[in-house]
Structure formats: C-alpha cells, structure tokens
C-alpha cells in the first residue's frame, strides 16, 4: 500500500520537544516543519502525473499478458491484430532490436516471453493503435498457442523441480555460520512462520508516454524511481546508445517499491520507435497488480535456545523466499533476511540458512523493508514463545537481550552506529495504555468490524504486544551508493538539480531545507528529474535522505565558499567567521554587513558535489561481512481489540519509539512513520495477493483489502531518539522502512496476547484469532 504523500492520519501525540521546553521550532532550514512545495497542487488535483500527459497525434498502447503461470508458447499469430483498422504496430519478442532480456539487478527477464511463460501476466506482445479500446481489442485478437505446463508454486518444491530458467531455480543461498554449532540452551522454542504476498499497491497505477526523437532516439515520460538504471536497460533493449534514450520523471503517485515496471516501459519505447509517433499507456489496476513486483512470500523455521534467565544462547533458522519467476531484488532481500534473522538482540551463536528460489508465482522484488519485515514477524513470534515458556514478561525478556552500540551482529559486523534499542522499548512500555472503552460511552467504541459491523463488546478481548525491529539503510553488500547534486544561485534564488526522485519520501522538501540552512536563502526550487542529469541512484532504502541530501549539502557549501571567499579575503578573515541569515551576510563581530544579492553582484554561482558513504563488502560463503552502511531501529507497542468469536481484529493504538539520528523535518518525519505503520498494519491484517496455482485471484482493490481510515489506529509517536549517526550527513537516519518492518510483528504479538493463539501466519486470518469465550 502507499498512502505516502502528505496524508497524515490522526496522530495522538505530536513530536515531543527535543531542545527542551521553550525552544522555538525554526521556520526554515533543518529542523523546520516545511510543507512540501507541491502539496497544494496535489490537493487540488492540478499536479501532473504521467497518466495526465498528452502529445499531438499520440497512439495508445496495450500489452498482451499471459493468462497462464507456466506454459510453452507454440506460436504467436499477430496478423489478425495487425490488420484491424486503427492498429499501427504490433510487436513481439522478434521485434526487440537489442538485448532480448533485462533486469534492474540480474539480467534474466525477457522483454516479451518468446518460448516460455514463467508467470501469470508476463508480457507477450504489445499493440499501438489510435484508440485505447482498439489497442486492447487488438491485443486480445493476437492468437497465442500455448502448451500449458504444470506450474511450480510451492517454493519448497522448487529445489527439486525442473529448472524454470536457464539460470536454475536457486537464485541465492546464504548459509550464515556464527559461533558454536553444538551449543544448546536450557530452554528451546520452535516455530514455523508464513508471511503472505504484500503488494506495493501504489495509489496511481503505472502510466507513461514515449516520444520518438528526430535523432532516432526516444524519450520516455514516466514515474521511474531509478531513472538512470531504467534508461540503461531500455537503451540496451532498443539497441541504442544510452544517450539516445532519455527518461523524464513525472510526478510519482506513490512508491513503496520499485517503479515503474519495465515490462510496460520497454513496449512503450519500442512502439514509439516503430511507429514514429508518441505512444501512451495507462495501466488498469489489474495490469498493475500483474506487472509490478511484490513483497517476497516467505516461509521461516526457527529454533531459539535460551538460558533459564531468558538470555539468548543460539538461534537456528531457515528462511525461504519465494522470488517468483525472476531474480530482481531477491538477492538483496535475502541478505537482509539472513543478516537480521535474529533481530536487534545479542545472539552469541547463530546458524541461519537462507534461500531465494524461482517459482511460477507472481514476481517478487523490492518493497520497503524487504527481507527484514518477514524475519521480524518470525523472531518476535519466537521471543513471545520464549517469554511464555519461561514465564517472563515479554518486554522484560526483550530488554534482557537488546542490542546496543558495540555489539556484534551474526554477520560479524560490529554495530558502530547508535543503537538505543533498550531505550526505545522502555519508552513504549512506560507510556500509559489507552483507556478501555468501558470508561467511555459505548457509542464511541469502534469495535472490530466497524461502526455498522457485528462486533459485540462481550466477545471483545484486548491485547498488548511488543516488537523490536531493525533494518539497514542504503544499498548493501558493496553497492556503490553515490549521488551527485548541483546547486545554482542567481538573483537571490537557489535551484537544486539532482536526479533523486521525489517519491513522496520528502527528498525535495529536505533539499530545500538543506540549502536554506547552508546558504540562508529562503526561496529554493528543486528541478524536475531526467536522465540528462548525473545519476543519483534508486529511491530505495532511504538513500536520498542520506546520500542525495548529503550531496546537496556539499554543493551548497561550495557555493557558500564561492560567495564568501572574496568578502573574507577583502576583510582579511576566514569564511567560517561570516554567517548568512535571512539573505544577509554578517561577520562574527558585526563589522561587515551586506546582503547576499549585493555580494553576488549579478553573478551566477554553480557548484556540483558528490556524496559517497563508506564502502561495504558482500557477505562471504558463511554469511560474514561488513555488508551494511547503517542500521535503524524501532520499538512498537500495539494495542488491539479482537472479537474472539468472529476473529475480527482492530488495531486500537500503535505506540512507536524510533531511532532517527536527527529530526530534519518534524511533520514530514511523523508522516513517514504513520505511513509505514499503516502499511505494516495492512501486511498484518488484510493485504495478501492470493493466487490459485500461480494465477492471481483478485487483481483489484476490492479483493486486495488495503487499510482504510477506519483500520488505521491512533499512532502515538512516543519518543524519537536523536543520537546523531556520525557517518551520516546531518547525523540523520532514514525513517520510512523500519516502522513497516516492525509493526506487523507488534500487531501479531498483541493478537497473541488477546487470544492466546500462536499467530504464526501473516496476514492474520480470522480463524487464527478465534478463541474460546469462557475465559
């Protein structure tokens, strides 16, 4: 789900003051609650998204997708479609001039299926016509003869199944070994956990416009979150030099995973090149569900060993990720799942086997918190089991094992960043519980099942559960996480040029604040993104908060030096002794006072800078290595009401404490945390894209139930720990992913407490939350 742009839910508590009482929050620069520049246009509906674009003489595209999850293609006959009036071009795998396969990370996915279909909805052909209905009818008129094969839908059977792909069915195996395999604990608990398939379900479906260029190249206007990678793979498939392909990023209507699905960007570009006309496509919700990547469905087996006091001795686990038909981001997701399989706890001995395997299920890929979210639900389930078995309070057991700075992860990496795990947990534990509804008029009690539902107070049990979660920030295992930014100042106005895509995560607001802070200039604009700018990398893992904002700061500082150097020289002092506020330059002693405009003297100042965090290394053959740049932590206390006869669940309150390094924009930060928690509640209670033998059953938003405003609980931000991470620019940690990771586990823990049932599957099915009423 992605209720991401500024859609604040009802926060029970505003951000607690940090600088002590009395400190006025700034209105500009770092620490200000600057609103997004595009908020008004988005609210009024005038903000342009890709689906709103238009070009003179444009054609409409439609993609023919496979109805089968696994089939051999015997023949494709496009003659009927090509002869239809109004159809201008039909393309199949034979019409791909360059590489026939692509991948954002692993090149293993065909542009169009040629011999074999590996998942339901895989693109087979595309049509351009002068009307969208004609294009759809023509796509439906393409005759494809299939030899339907038995789909491999159980990831456990993928190991022994016939290879679904020339690369084999095993995408990656990580056997993490850390410590002594023979040691055992006084107490052992075991569990089997299953996590469903969450869809990023962006509020705006995929859309794009491809425009051919006179030089034989093509421009694609779309909501890409990684434009340079998309340009490179598109150029390779089109058989063009990368500078002949330009991706222009339009407004992004929600992104909690990778956008846009290249499976429709590539056909668009091919059709535009083929017809010489602009070609547009706006995907239906069904195509959107079929095309883009989902969260990995995961099967987890765990065995926790602890001593009699509840201190963890050893964790053994098996983690199996269902990658679907193509590798995509599965390797990174698996690394996160294996590395964080024990959670933010001190574990002296750990043996974690992780596999990512190919199946004929819908494709999996990057969705916020991938890998880390699935294992969090499992290790927190284990901690609850351990607490029950030992008779220790679940929060106390977690405190006894909590990780802190200087501890070592099972990957052998030392935690060097702030890790205030125990402080976070105490904060959510000690905040008062929400009032029981019996103390308020019954009319105000929103029961599970909703205001017109069947809930009955006598059957409702309240539960309280805790979860701790962790996630890595930035790309892992040796990814080059560089970003480049340019700052330009002219006539008292600053412009930031950076190819970091604003996905709703708030980068453009942050970039304005950084420039305001460094240059004292109030009016800052952020330029639209295209691939003529230097690359800034994908909008994932909070990297733009870190590297792109860091690059903007460096560029702004370079401009500041260019601006102040002549003045400093003239007055014989260093630039550090000059400061810029409200467009005025003053020296420390007040001798010099001038305005920025005067100092600029009509000149234009430009500076470009890069930010590149310290390098990481891949996990080795036993899962060891310093694979992560930084880690973020979060503690959540969930309070739920469960109707134990119907098994219906309502989350009443989520109290969250998070390690954020430094608050750069308080209201934006609160929005990010609320959005993350709500996405997590979806994964915990209702979001599961179900399949029957590999075929998606309900690819629509009626069958795929996102949380509504009635499902979103009171979100109470109890504490934001500001311990600056010294290696991060500004000391700030990206904040969006860790609430997604932690909140499903917290909801499951609370339902466990309310019902006494084990809760080992997400989303929680009603029959799993039913309990005897006589308790």
């Amino acid at each position: 789900m992605s209720n991401d742009a500024a859609t604040a839910t009802h926060t029970a508590l505003t951000i607690p003051p940090v600088d002590g009482p009395g400190a006025e929050p700034p209105v500009l620069g770092i620490g200000a609650s600057l609103p997004p520049a595009d908020a008004r246009a988005k609210t009024e509906g005038t903000f342009p998204y890709a689906a709103d674009l238009w070009a003179e003489g444009l054609l409409w595209a439609a993609v023919l997708r496979s109805p089968h999850p696994h089939a051999r293609i015997l023949s494709i006959d496009t003659t009927g479609a090509a002869e239809m009036p109004g159809v201008r071009a039909v393309v199949t795998h034979e019409d791909v001039p360059g590489d026939g396969a692509y991948g954002r990370r692993v090149v293993d996915r065909p542009v169009f299926a040629s011999e074999l279909v590996r998942h339901h909805g895989e693109p087979i052909a595309a049509v351009a016509a002068d009307h969208p209905d004609t294009a759809r009818l023509a796509a439906a008129a393409i005759v494809v003869e299939y030899d339907v094969l038995e789909p491999v839908t159980d990831p456990e059977k993928a190991f022994a199944a016939e290879p679904l792909h020339p690369d084999g069915n095993l995408i990656r195996h990580i056997p993490l070994r850390y410590g002594d395999p023979d040691i055992t604990g006084d107490v052992i608990v075991e569990g089997l956990y299953r996590i469903g398939r969450q869809d990023p379900a962006p509020i705006g479906a995929e859309a794009g416009l491809a425009v051919p260029r006179p030089d034989g190249g093509v421009e694609i206007y779309t909501a890409s979150t990684d434009p340079h990678t998309d340009r490179d793979l598109a150029a390779a498939c089109f058989g063009l030099e990368p500078d002949r392909v330009k991706i222009v990023v339009t407004g992004v209507p929600g992104a909690t995973g990778d956008r846009e699905d290249p499976g429709f960007q590539l056909p668009l570009g091919l059709l535009a090149l083929r017809t010489g006309c602009p070609v547009k496509l706006a995907a239906t919700r069904e195509e959107s569900f079929l095309g883009h990547a989902h969260r990995h469905p995961t099967l987890l087996r765990y065995r926790h060993h602890a001593d009699a006091e509840g201190r963890l001795v050893k964790v053994e686990a098996q983690v199996l990720l269902d990658a679907g038909a193509y590798a995509d981001a599965s390797s990174e997701s698996l690394a996160a799942a294996v590395a964080f399989a024990c959670g933010p706890y001190v574990v002296p001995h750990a043996f974690i086997e992780g596999w990512a395997v190919r199946t004929n299920n819908p494709p999996s890929g990057h969705v916020r918190g991938e890998g880390a979210m699935q294992v969090c639900a499992a290790y927190e389930g284990q901690m609850d089991k351990l607490a029950t078995k030992l008779g220790i309070d679940p929060a106390e057991l977690r405190l006894r094992n909590s990780l802190s700075t200087g501890d070592i992860l099972p990957t052998g990496q030392t935690v060097t960043c702030p890790a205030p795990v125990a402080e976070l947990l105490r904060a959510v534990r000690d905040v008062p519980l929400p009032a029981l509804p019996k103390d308020s008029p019954e009319d105000d009690w929103l029961l599970p099942g909703g205001p017109e539902g069947a809930g009955e107070p006598g059957a409702v049990r309240r539960g309280v559960g805790y979860a701790l979660g962790m996630v890595h920030m930035l790309g892992a295992e040796g990814t080059d996480e560089v970003s480049t930014a340019t700052v330009r100042v002219h006539n008292g106005v600053a412009t930031v040029i950076c190819a970091a895509v604003e996905t709703g995560q708030g980068f453009s607001t942050l970039a304005r604040q950084v420039v305001q802070e460094t240059l004292g200039i109030e009016e800052v604009h952020v330029a639209a993104v295209d691939t003529d700018q230097p690359p800034a990398g994908p909008s994932t893992h909070g990297r733009h908060t870190w590297v792109s904002a860091g690059a903007v700061e460096r560029a702004a500082k370079m401009v500041r030096t260019q601006l102040l150097q002549p003045l400093a020289h003239k007055f014989g002092m260093s630039t550090e002794l000059l400061q810029i506020t409200d467009g005025k330059i003053t020296s420390y002693d007040g001798v010099l006072s001038t305005t920025v405009t005067e100092a600029m003297d009509g000149k234009e100042l430009w500076a470009t800078a890069q930010c590149r965090p310290h390098p990481t290394e891949p996990l080795d053959e036993s899962g060891q290595g310093d694979a992560f740049v930084g880690l973020a932590f979060c503690a959540i206390r969930a309070v739920v009401d469960v109707d134990i006869e119907l098994g219906s669940i309502r989350v009443v309150e989520m109290a969250v404490a998070q390690d954020v390094g430094r608050i750069l924009n308080p209201s934006q930060l609160a929005t990010r945390i609320e959005a993350g928690i709500t996405q997590g509640i979806g994964a915990a209670l209702s979001e599961n894209l179900r399949t029957t033998r590999g075929v998606i059953r309900h690819p629509d938003l009626t069958g795929y139930a996102l949380p509504t405003s009635l499902d979103a609980p009171d979100i109470r931000i109890v504490k934001l720990v500001e311990e600056r991470d010294v290696v991060a620019p500004f000391g700030a940690k990206p904040a969006s992913a860790v609430p997604v990771v932690t909140s499903p586990a917290a909801v499951a823990a609370a339902v466990r407490a309310a019902t006494g049932r084990p809760i080992n599957r997400l989303p929680i099915r009603p029959q799993a939350a039913v309990a005897a009423t006589n308790s």
Partner: protein
C-alpha cells in the same frame, strides 16, 4: 483508417418516467439499463461488458422515493443506499437501513441503488438477505404499462427472470413495526464485502421470526426449520426474551442448516470433516445469527 468515430457511437437515453424507460429498452433491445453504475461500470472497465447503448434511470424521480400501500412500503428501485441509511427510513425498515449503511464507502452508497443491488444479484449484495427475510415482492414494469409481481427470492434463485424490456420498478416490503437486525462480518474494520451476513426480522402479527443468511451462497438462504422452532419458543405476548442457551442453539441450528456437514460416503464410511475455513464460516454464521436474534429480542 481511424477507429475514433465508431467507438464514440454509443446511444445514451435519459427517460424521465418508468414507462418511457421501458419503451426505450423495447426500442433498443441491446441497450443496458444503468442506475448507480457501481457494478455495471466496473464490468465495463474490466472489458467484460461493452454495451452498445445505455438507458440511464437516474432522472426517473418516481423511482427515487417510496410510498405506502396496504400496510406495505412500495420502495422505488432508484433509492440509493445513502437515502435508505437515513433515520426516517431506518424507523420504517430498520434492517434494510442497517444493510444500506454497511454497503460500502460513502461514494458507493451515494450512487448505488436498491434496484441495482437486486439486478446485479451479487452473492455479497448486502440488501439481499434483508429483502429475503422480509419476503419482499418486486413490481416489474413491462411494455405498455404492464405490471407484474414476483417474490424477490424467485428472481434471485432464477425461478423467474426479467423478460426483455422489463425493469424492476418497485420493491414491496411489509411494514412490520417490530425489531429487525442486519449484521455482517467483513475482513477489515473499514468498508468491505461481507464474508457472511445475517438478517433477522420479527413479525409479531404472524408470530414469526424470519432469518436469511447472505454472502455464503449464490443467493440468500432461509433456515425455515430454525425459524419455526425459535418462533415457537418466544413468548409473543410477554417479554419476548430468550435464554442465552436458546439463542446459541438457534445460531447453531441456522449455521448447520446453511452449511451442512458433508454427506456420508457412498460405501457407508464416515463423512469427511469440513475444511477449517468452512468450519470457521459456520462458526461465524452461528455467532452472527445468535447476536442478531439477541439484539432483535433485547
């Protein structure tokens, strides 16, 4: 050759009265009547339906309200869920009002109509179990001012169908002046499709309890034996209350009637148990029926 022109030729007529609408349908047999469009347009958008013409019913004001006739309310088929959810309607037919309020988010309730709910006949249509429990009759308008009446259950079960150029004009519902309850179970707290729903209607004049279970079968189910049994236990002239055990037994009776056990095997062996998901559905129906009757009698 361009295909823009033929795509645009779609006839839309907007009749002002029920008879005009019937005439328009008669003149253009391929046209589809459309009221709120909440189901129809989703089918069009999915490409399942490509109507060559539409007869819009939104301007027929006689269908958008109700009037009274011999102790019955004659509800216009164009009544929206939003209108039925209002307090004045709830005072007349409480269960239908409750089902209308539960029938989706406000945007759907503002557009979707009672007649459309019947015509779509989706298993999860929230008004349908209520109409089945009320034993509502449909007034069908035909060509040349013809009117005929059929029970709503006959249409939902496919025993009687609408003929070409016929429209659901009105729904005749008895005014019982007694408690009625509609309850539904869904997958989330926000609006959602029912996994099961139960409507309970008391009919003190005939000393009857009428119950219908929705969403678990293609049409609402009536557990007639359970209705007769529980009606015989109620002291109609006194307090009307029932012991919790009796309510629970009614819930079980209804659930077992609607979701029966598997039949014994042909070789006389023991019947296989119901799958866990079906057992959960049966428990849900039992709880809903018990709660609904309890609320109706309280």
């Amino acid at each position: 050759m361009t295909t823009h022109a033929p795509q645009a030729t779609q006839t839309v007529t907007l009749p002002a009265s029920l008879d005009e609408a019937v005439a328009a349908l008669g003149a253009m047999p391929a046209a589809v009547p459309v009221a709120g469009g909440t189901d129809l347009m989703s089918a069009v958008n999915k490409g399942l339906l490509r109507p060559s013409g539409l007869v819009g019913l939104g301007r027929i004001s006689e269908l958008r309200g109700w009037h009274y006739q011999d102790g019955h309310a004659l509800l216009g088929a164009g009544l929206t869920h939003a209108r039925m959810g209002r307090p004045d309607f709830a005072a007349l037919i409480p269960a239908l009002a409750a089902s209308a309020r539960a029938a989706g988010p406000p945007q759907i309730r503002n557009a979707g109509t009672l007649g459309g709910n019947i015509a779509s006949a989706a298993p999860t249509g929230d008004a349908l179990p209520v109409l089945a429990a009320l034993e509502a009759e449909l007034v069908i308008a035909g060509p040349d001012g013809a009117r005929r009446e059929i029970p709503v259950s006959h249409l939902l079960a496919g025993r009687e169908m609408l003929e070409p150029a016929e429209l659901i004009g009105f729904i005749r519902v008895p005014l019982l002046h007694a408690p009625q309850v509609f309850l539904k179970a869904t997958g989330r707290t926000g609006p959602g499709r029912a996994t099961a729903s139960v409507a309970i209607v008391l009919d003190p004049a005939r000393r009857g309890v009428r119950c219908a279970v929705g969403a678990i079968a293609p049409m609402p189910l009536r557990p007639l034996e359970a209705e007769r049994w529980i009606a015989s236990l109620i002291d109609w002239d006194g307090e009307r209350g029932l012991a919790p055990d009796a309510l629970a037994a009614f819930g079980e009776y209804v659930a077992a009637a609607c979701i029966p056990d598997q039949p014994p095997l042909a070789d006389g062996g023991e019947a296989p148990p119901l799958p866990p998901a079906v057992l959960h559905l049966r428990r849900t129906v039992a709880a809903l029926a018990r709660r609904a009757l309890g609320r109706a009698l309280s």
